[in-house]
């Protein structure tokens, strides 16, 4: 463990929540209760007493805030992911002990690992700072700097030995009960509410590191990875918004529930609308809201019943490319019709895989074809893939480890395969 070098000289500390999360699915009572339990975790090992005071009371030792972005201290928040929270070490300064949570995180209680960020686990960590502990590298310590996922039932959670040692170095040991375990003091807070219902028990959450996405699109600088009724978002900085995928229908408001797969997606440059494709249909979204009804792909000029594997807008000429199998069409957004002479064979994109999962253009202007677990990069304006293509997607895009097995390069070029039923 590591000590910050400061500690409280009193043994009863007051706390209050000054601002609650604006966007969290946790209600205020749940947040208050979780804070109370998180403080009790430290109290039970040290004999410290924590007393909640009225939220109007700005004199409390530990003031808790949910804040966004810059919030008048030296640790601005950075939106979803990245930094989650911080707290100030004990002292005489008004901000000493104060604890701030990034309001733009998806704070959860009772959810599985990967489903948002467990507020109780983060609160326990931050209150460790508020009591004078620094970050620890001990494997089981709650004071490790990285978020480790939920820590289980708040009522049963107990600090690791490393954390107890650090705390007791500062505040001494509490007298234990006869069975050797500390006795939890009765809490003044209400009992914990039941955990939120699981997101969707019927559909297993896919593993992003397995690749094989249905669609990938650059939407306003963020890369969206669609797989079944889920999607992940990668921020322009390269950070995943969350390792847990979001539910398709919770985000894309109005998308019919029977649509379980997005086969292609792109952001239309001329008006910023986002187009999602599934089967022979497409849907137009303004931001997250659906505009109108499902529309047939024939509106793009494609043959009736035709579907698409990939769609992207190429900044070089402003045209939209629609790919199916080994052929593609080029659509003129201004004229609202296909360019003549299409479809053409995809081999024009030298080195590109047939039937790509999707194609998208990065913020730097490079074009990326995705298929399976690999990507092919085409430098800005080029139709020839880079010599190091294909590369595994995981390490570059999805915070996944590089494949441990030797690199297997999917063959590119035309495919002339025959598959028999018994093979």
């Amino acid at each position: 463990y590591a000590l910050s070098g400061s500690m409280w000289k009193k043994r009863t500390l007051t706390w209050s929540i000054q601002s609650f999360s604006q966007s969290s699915q946790l209600n205020q009572l749940t947040v208050r209760t979780l804070m109370s339990y998180a403080l009790a975790v430290w109290a039970v090992e040290s004999g410290l007493t924590f007393k909640e005071v009225d939220s109007q009371n700005q004199e409390a030792d530990i003031l808790i805030h949910f804040s966004r972005g810059y919030h008048q201290d030296t640790y601005p928040f950075d939106g979803p992911g990245g930094t989650l929270a911080h707290a100030f070490f004990p002292g005489e300064h008004p901000i000493s002990g104060d604890t701030h949570f990034d309001d733009e995180e998806t704070w959860t209680f009772g959810s599985k690992d990967g489903e948002g960020t467990d507020l109780f686990a983060v609160a326990v960590h931050e209150f460790g700072h508020a009591l004078g502990l620094g970050h620890s590298s001990a494997p089981n310590s709650i004071m490790r700097p990285f978020y480790q996922g939920p820590v289980g039932d708040p009522d049963k959670y107990r600090l690791s030995q490393d954390d107890r040692d650090g705390l007791q170095q500062l505040y001494g040991k509490v007298s234990n009960s006869p069975n050797g375990k500390p006795t939890r003091k009765p809490l003044a807070s209400p009992p914990l509410p039941p955990a939120l219902p699981p997101d969707s028990p019927s559909t297993p959450v896919p593993d992003r590191c397995e690749g094989n996405f249905d669609a990938i699109a650059n939407i306003r600088g963020e890369t969206f990875f669609f797989k079944g009724p889920w999607f992940w978002r990668l921020q322009p900085s390269g950070q995943l918004v969350s390792p847990r995928p979001a539910r398709l229908h919770r985000f894309w408001e109005g998308l019919p529930t029977h649509v379980r797969v997005i086969q292609a997606a792109y952001a239309r440059p001329r008006d910023g609308r986002i187009i999602l494709f599934s089967g022979p249909w497409f849907w137009v979204f303004q931001d997250r809201q659906l505009e109108g009804e499902a529309r047939p792909l024939v509106e793009f000029g494609l043959p009736p019943g035709e579907e698409v594997d990939a769609v992207f807008s190429w900044p070089l000429n402003g045209k939209t490319y629609l790919i199916r199998g080994q052929q593609y069409w080029r659509y003129d957004e201004e004229a609202a019709r296909l360019d003549p002479g299409y479809p053409r064979v995809l081999s024009l994109w030298e080195g590109a895989p047939p039937s790509p999962d999707d194609v998208t253009v990065s913020n730097t202007g490079d074009t990326y074809f995705f298929k399976g677990t690999h990507f092919w990069r085409f430098a800005k304006g080029s139709v020839k893939s880079e010599s190091d293509s294909p590369q595994p997607m995981g390490p570059k895009w999805l915070d996944c480890p590089a494949p441990s097995s030797p690199k297997t390069t999917p063959k590119t070029g035309t495919c002339n395969c025959h598959c028999e039923l018994n093979q």
Partner: protein, 87 residues
């Protein structure tokens, strides 16, 4: 070892500085960080995070730098404020 992208090195230096592994740049000296100091800082970060101590901006190190975390530095800079104890 694969050569890290300039973007990753830049992100790494920023990250290592923010969390206390590298001293803040001194504008008055306009001094570049030395490669040795950078590698030492990466090793300390890797030790702290329980990663293999390669001193390189390898993919697992870069991935760790992208993990959600607390905003406070891991290495507290003010002299005399930190006392580390090992069991």
């Amino acid at each position: 070892a694969p050569i890290p992208r300039a973007q990753d090195v830049s992100l790494g230096v920023d990250w290592l500085t923010r969390y206390g592994y590298l001293p803040p740049a001194d504008p008055s000296q306009a001094q570049l960080q030395s490669l040795e100091k950078l590698q030492d800082a990466i090793k300390i970060m890797q030790r702290f995070a329980g990663l293999p101590e390669t001193g390189q901006m390898d993919p697992i190190t870069i991935a760790t730098m992208h993990k959600p975390r607390c905003s406070l530095p891991d290495i507290l800079g003010a002299a005399g404020l930190v006392r580390r104890r090992r069991r």
